[in-house]
């Protein structure tokens, strides 16, 4: 494109959207089509809009988002596999006025870190847990996760998840919603503009809860796709998610202001 024309189009007054400065310029390590990038951006946009960059301390997990600290332009810690809620507890207890969150995948949060997840929720730590559920271990190459659906193929359930042999997918979000220590529990998605808006609203509510020291933990599950691990195109994977993941993991609020609203 002609440089003059380009500069005219991208002139400040013509800008309707730009990347938040709370996302760094690092190229995302996620596969094209993956929902992680959108989830990152939503969280950082909300922190930016609420003026919380200096207050925020994030905790990255082990999994695809192990490098979240490369992309989120805030102070961050990287946790051992599954231990992010324990780190967040240590941070929030010693810095009660900071805004503390973890960002974790299903294997990290609902398998190896089950104890840390449940007990942080049960203690009512005043933190946020962002839980990206794509039903698979993405980073290690597509192994079966605690949230892999019955019959779903992965590299360690190559003939499909046999629930008699391998156990059932864990609805950990419903589980933590029933603990007295959670204040806000919701399940969202980021595959359409409408869902992005709903998720952003939920993220904002979670940060507001923490900022206003509402009693308990905010837990936001984002059901996402893993086109690489599911061996599909991004478009196919989103459709598969709608057809298969959403019936098992229905979207919507589960607990609001400490009160169960569904399930």
């Amino acid at each position: 494109m002609d440089e003059k024309l380009y500069n005219e189009i991208v002139a400040e007054e013509n800008l309707v959207y730009k990347k938040t400065s709370l996302m760094t310029d690092k190229v995302l390590s996620y596969c094209p089509g993956c929902g992680h990038g959108t989830a990152h951006r939503i969280i950082m946009e909300v922190l930016d809009e609420m003026g919380l960059q200096e207050a925020a301390i994030g905790v990255a997990p082990v999994g695809c988002s192990v490098l979240a600290y490369e992309f989120m332009n805030i102070d961050m810690q990287q946790a051992a596999h599954g231990r992010a809620p324990a780190l967040a507890t240590g941070i929030k207890r010693t810095w009660p006025n900071k805004i503390v969150f973890t960002y974790q995948g299903d294997g990290d949060l609902a398998a190896i870190g089950t104890a840390e997840t449940i007990h942080a929720c049960n203690r009512g730590e005043n933190i946020i847990i962002f839980f990206i559920n794509n039903g698979i271990y993405g980073m290690t190459g597509g192994q079966m996760a605690p949230t892999t659906l019955p019959g779903m193929k992965s590299s360690t359930s190559p003939y499909g998840r046999d629930v008699v042999m391998m156990g059932h997918p864990l609805k950990i979000t419903e589980l933590v919603a029933h603990l007295p220590g959670t204040y806000f529990v919701t399940r969202q998605a980021v595959h359409t503009p409408a869902n992005v808006r709903k998720t952003k609203k939920a993220v904002r509510m979670a940060f507001e809860n923490q900022l206003n020291k509402k009693p308990g933990l905010s837990f936001i599950e984002i059901v996402s796709n893993c086109n690489s691990g599911w061996k599909m195109t991004p478009v196919q994977s989103n459709q598969w998610m709608v057809d298969n993941m959403f019936p098992y993991y229905p979207l919507g609020d589960i607990k609001v202001d400490g009160v169960l609203v569904s399930h």
Partner: protein
């Protein structure tokens, strides 16, 4: 000046932490160290100094809470006993990799496995050689009295922040459980957040506009970068070896035979020195205070002056390997120990010396 009080070793450690300006303790019950957590909960340091205390859901969670708090520059600590320390090893390795300060107390009991709840020194290898995965070292201090359980918390916090390296106090069931009088030093106040931010510019305390974001991680996907980090860590350990060696000597001047011991074994060996001398045997003792760094230079020097050394440990013989390396064949080095929670008597320790070197 300080006050004098009769306390258990575990209690002295907890009181030592409060008075050392510690910010947070995260623990989990296990015998023989549960008094640490119990003392904190009864003492309510959050009212005395603002120090946070929390009973975690596991040793794994406790060490990771330490990791979280330490990453923000707080003076954080945990304690456990052998099986629980094994669980903490993951977090300790991550802390070493991420260069985090933190104090860990191990009140050692007999193993392997669930073992026994009685005293032991069988975790020496785990404490001094790494313990978790990867090339790393902890600074390891061995208290041998209730007073040192109190004093060494302050020393440990100084060292852990000086080097940004976790420090372990390697105690045992004798030192943790026994009662002795302790001179309680006057408290030093906890640092304010402003002091902390100034002292720990690396800490994840929230990113102001005036600096780049701080990141605490032990991950380097680029092998060349990871190796550079490993070299940096090794250089730090060498510096610690040059600077932080600590030991104490008893009756070494004219000694012909030298006991080498630490912790409660050193107390027993000290008595054995007196008993041996009463029998006309010129025995002496070097008591190791720092186990890493190991006082290898001093032990090497002493090897040129004595006829033999005897390592006294409540284990099958772990520290003795480091003694042998330091002595490097100059004189015979042997080991006497009890295991499984059995504590040797001073008389036994004298007989062991006689049998090995004098032919008694």
């Amino acid at each position: 000046m300080g006050e004098l009080k009769l306390m258990k070793g575990n209690e002295a450690f907890a009181e030592g932490a409060i008075r050392a300006g510690a910010d947070a303790y995260f623990g989990y019950p296990i015998t023989p160290q549960s008094e640490v957590l119990e003392y904190f909960m009864a003492e309510k340091p959050y009212e005395r100094t603002g120090m946070v205390v929390l009973q975690a859901e596991s040793e794994v969670a406790a060490i990771n809470m330490v990791y979280g708090a330490a990453s923000t520059g707080k003076r954080a600590m945990t304690s456990s006993s052998s099986p629980g320390i094994s669980l903490k090893m993951e977090g300790i390795s991550y802390m070493a990799g991420a260069e985090l300060p933190g104090v860990i107390l191990n009140v050692v009991r007999g193993g392997p496995g669930l073992g026994t709840i009685q005293p032991s020194q069988a975790d020496y290898f785990q404490a001094t050689k790494g313990g978790g995965h990867g090339d790393y070292r902890l600074i390891v201090l061995a208290p041998s009295s209730v007073q040192e359980m109190f004093d060494f918390v302050r020393l440990a916090f100084d060292l852990t922040f000086k080097y940004r390296n976790p420090v372990m106090l390697l105690s045992d069931g004798v030192i943790g459980q026994m009662m002795e009088k302790v001179l309680l030093a006057d408290p030093i106040p906890r640092r304010t957040d402003e002091e902390l931010i100034k002292e720990c510019p690396w800490a994840t305390t929230g990113k102001p506009k005036t600096r780049e974001r701080n990141i605490i991680t032990s991950l380097n996907l680029d092998s060349a970068v990871q190796e550079k980090h490993n070299i940096h860590l090794q250089e730090k350990y060498r510096k610690i070896e040059e600077t932080e060696v600590r030991f104490e000597e008893f009756e070494v001047e004219d000694a012909e035979y030298l006991y080498v011991a630490y912790g409660s074994s050193a107390r027993i060996a000290q008595k054995a020195v007196q008993l041996a001398r009463a029998k006309g045997i010129k025995a002496g003792l070097i008591r190791l205070i720092s186990l890493f760094p190991f006082p290898k230079q001093r032990i090497g020097e002493l090897a040129g002056r004595v006829k033999g050394m005897l390592a006294i440990e409540m284990s099958a013989g772990q520290m003795v390997e480091d003694v042998r390396l330091a002595v490097n064949g100059k004189v015979p080095v042997d080991h006497y120990g009890r295991m499984g929670g059995m504590v040797p008597s001073p008389e036994e320790v004298v007989i062991a010396l006689e049998k090995k070197y004098i032919g008694g």
